[in-house]
Symmetry: C2
Subunit: 187 residues, 2 copies
């Protein structure tokens, strides 16, 4: 049996979630020997400024590239967590930006609320790198794609001249996820 990991990145247009999804998918497939799909839907919600990017990662061919039982939902707005939290599988992860999301409905999933955008501002000095902070947290939480593969994909994909700040954002997120794991172990 192969493994399958479904990730949905949701929030507002302009938060860089499509690029984040592309980086995760390319990292998995081009730099980490897996297969991946990346998809987005455009409809009335896109006209309203919402954005959604889905990544499916597997070690075998992906016949159905639609995420229906999410291993991880990233929600960068209150609207997106409300809209999609019901798609998270039992035992999955709901990752929200604590500065942008006030409340997460209760459910049989783990909620991780972290200051994603604030970290981009404080650690990198650039709020627009919040998407890469999120990619770092996701990489650390899921442990499905190697961090080195994500870094290769970042170097290949982000606009020239922004590699360093985006890598810094990614590493900040990765460190946040690792400190969470350590806390859990210590409890």
């Amino acid at each position: 049996m192969g493994f399958r990991c479904e990730i949905r990145l949701s929030g507002a247009g302009g938060q860089g979630l499509l690029l984040a999804g592309k980086i995760i998918a390319e990292a998995a497939a081009i730099y980490d020997g897996k297969l991946a799909t990346q998809a987005q839907s455009y409809g009335p919600e896109a006209r309203g400024g919402a954005s959604k990017s889905e990544v499916v990662i597997s070690d075998e061919d992906i016949d159905y590239p639609v995420a229906t039982h999410l291993d991880l939902l990233l929600a960068m707005t209150q609207e997106s967590v409300d809209a999609y939290v019901g798609d998270v599988r039992n035992g999955g992860i709901v990752l929200v930006d604590s500065g942008l999301v006030d409340s997460v409905p209760q459910g049989s999933y783990r909620v991780v609320s972290l200051p994603i955008s604030q970290t981009a501002i404080d650690e990198v000095g650039k709020g627009v790198t919040a998407n890469l902070v999120a990619v770092g947290i996701i990489t650390g939480l899921l442990d499905v794609v190697k961090a080195a593969a994500i870094e290769s994909a970042i170097r290949a994909r982000v606009p020239r001249g922004t590699e360093d700040s985006n890598l810094k954002a990614f590493r900040s997120g990765l460190a946040m996820a690792k400190s969470l794991s350590t806390e859990s172990t210590g409890e």
Copy 2:
């Protein structure tokens, strides 16, 4: 019954096919009142430098965003036309770059072979705009998304400072498609 239009853009990495797919999908959904999905797969073929982007456009919700009966296949390399021509529906269109593709297998589809890359060089002075020339041809051939909607999506999506050259490339492609139609009528 709703309509459904399936497009696959295929070729090599670096030819801008993911951006082209995104522009078509956003034009349809954000600027032309339809629904659209855009998806790409990454796998061994991506490591080999191949690139594939799929767009599905409909006037109703798209439950299955995978293109299986292509209304139009764009192939910007010989490898991609050989790999995907079998997925084109009866009466569909196979659009190839005549400067990059030597032969197209026979089938029950319409083959349109045009100097896409050469037009980008001759008309725009920038070979990298070949993807937008292709978008123009596709827009003219399919008549599914309004040209004005595509132009809005181009303005919103291409790197700042390249709007004019990309719009010029798009219009060159659109004119090529229209001259084809005129030729057909005149025969």
